[in-house]
Amino acid sequence: KMSEVSEVMTKAGIKPKSMHRAKIWSDDVENLYRFQQAGYRDEVEYKQVKQVDEVECWPETGFVKKLQRRDNTFYYYNRQRECEDKDVHKVKVYVY
């Protein structure tokens, strides 16, 4: 469901209306953590900047596997959870 929404957003170049911090961990928070580590707001911005349709993910968990940063270097992420509980409150959740 996330990808359908972001596809529409990407095409329209829409910017988020508001932001709040994550309180508890979830799969979505994990993926947001990964995008933000690579220097993007979220999947929407990544697809806008990198002009790609798909983001490479681990098939078993659905977590982001690989991202290309703005300097074109690559970040690789683990199959399992990387965002620890102490880092959850740093994750920004954008609302469109």
């Binding site: 580590q37 690989k66 940063r69 300097d71 074109n72 270097t73 690559f74 970040y75 690789y76 683990n78 199959r79």
Partner: protein, 213 residues
């Protein structure tokens, strides 16, 4: 001890210590040479995250025959940033190597042996965790390692009983996965589980005190 020879008592000294537990000095690694030459596909200067390295090229396109043994060679390093890049580089390459890892296994044995032979606690911990990751990284890697047990297991046999008796104290190193005795036990169990039918008997031959899991 003393020895009675005729009417005289001679003090006899035992054999000198062999130093099996003593640290050995590390030689300059090929990893460090290539790192300083700038040959590595890693972006060194970037305002990135503490535990992550940024790759200049996609790992999937790397020549594993060339790079994986080089990164394994860096496991002997103890100084920052060499130790960090070697450890993280090996982790990323094993995580994303897939079927490229198995053909390279024979070339990884000498770097692993060199790292274990340093008898350095920190290097031992890192290398054991890397070996554990290697065994589960791809299909049949565990079985491919069986012929090389006689090169890797002797040092593990020496350190296997390094469990400290703290009485009723708390063993924090076990929680942090830095207790060598526990790490060795875990590694041997992974060898047995992923090594196929011949694994247990080969482990037992090298480490007679090992108990099946």
């Amino acid at each position: 001890g003393f020895v009675l020879f005729g009417f005289f008592l001679f003090k006899v000294r035992g054999p000198p210590p062999a130093g099996s537990l003593k640290k050995r000095p590390a030689k300059r690694t090929a990893f460090r040479k290539f790192y300083e030459r700038g040959d590595f596909p890693i972006a060194v200067q970037h305002a990135g995250v503490a535990n992550k390295i940024a790759w200049k090229v996609e790992i999937e396109s790397l020549d594993y025959h060339y790079f994986l043994p080089l990164f394994f060679d860096g496991l002997c390093e103890t100084e920052f940033p060499y130790e960090f890049f070697a450890r993280q580089g090996v982790h990323d390459m094993l995580e994303h190597g897939g079927n490229k890892i198995l053909p390279v296994v024979p070339q990884l044995i000498i770097p692993i042996k060199n790292a274990l032979n340093l008898r350095n606690r920190q290097v031992l911990c890192t290398t054991l965790k890397v070996i554990q990751h290697l065994v589960v990284s791809a299909e049949r890697v565990g079985e491919a390692l069986v012929p090389y047990y006689r090169q890797i297991l002797p040092v593990l046999s020496i350190f296997k009983n390094m469990d400290v008796n703290l009485g009723d104290g708390i063993e924090y190193s076990q929680q942090k996965r830095e207790n060598i005795g526990v790490l060795i036990k875990e590694t041997l169990e992974l060898f047995e589980r992923y090594g196929g039918e011949d694994a247990y008997i080969n482990i037992k031959y090298m480490i007679p005190t090992y108990g099946s899991c």
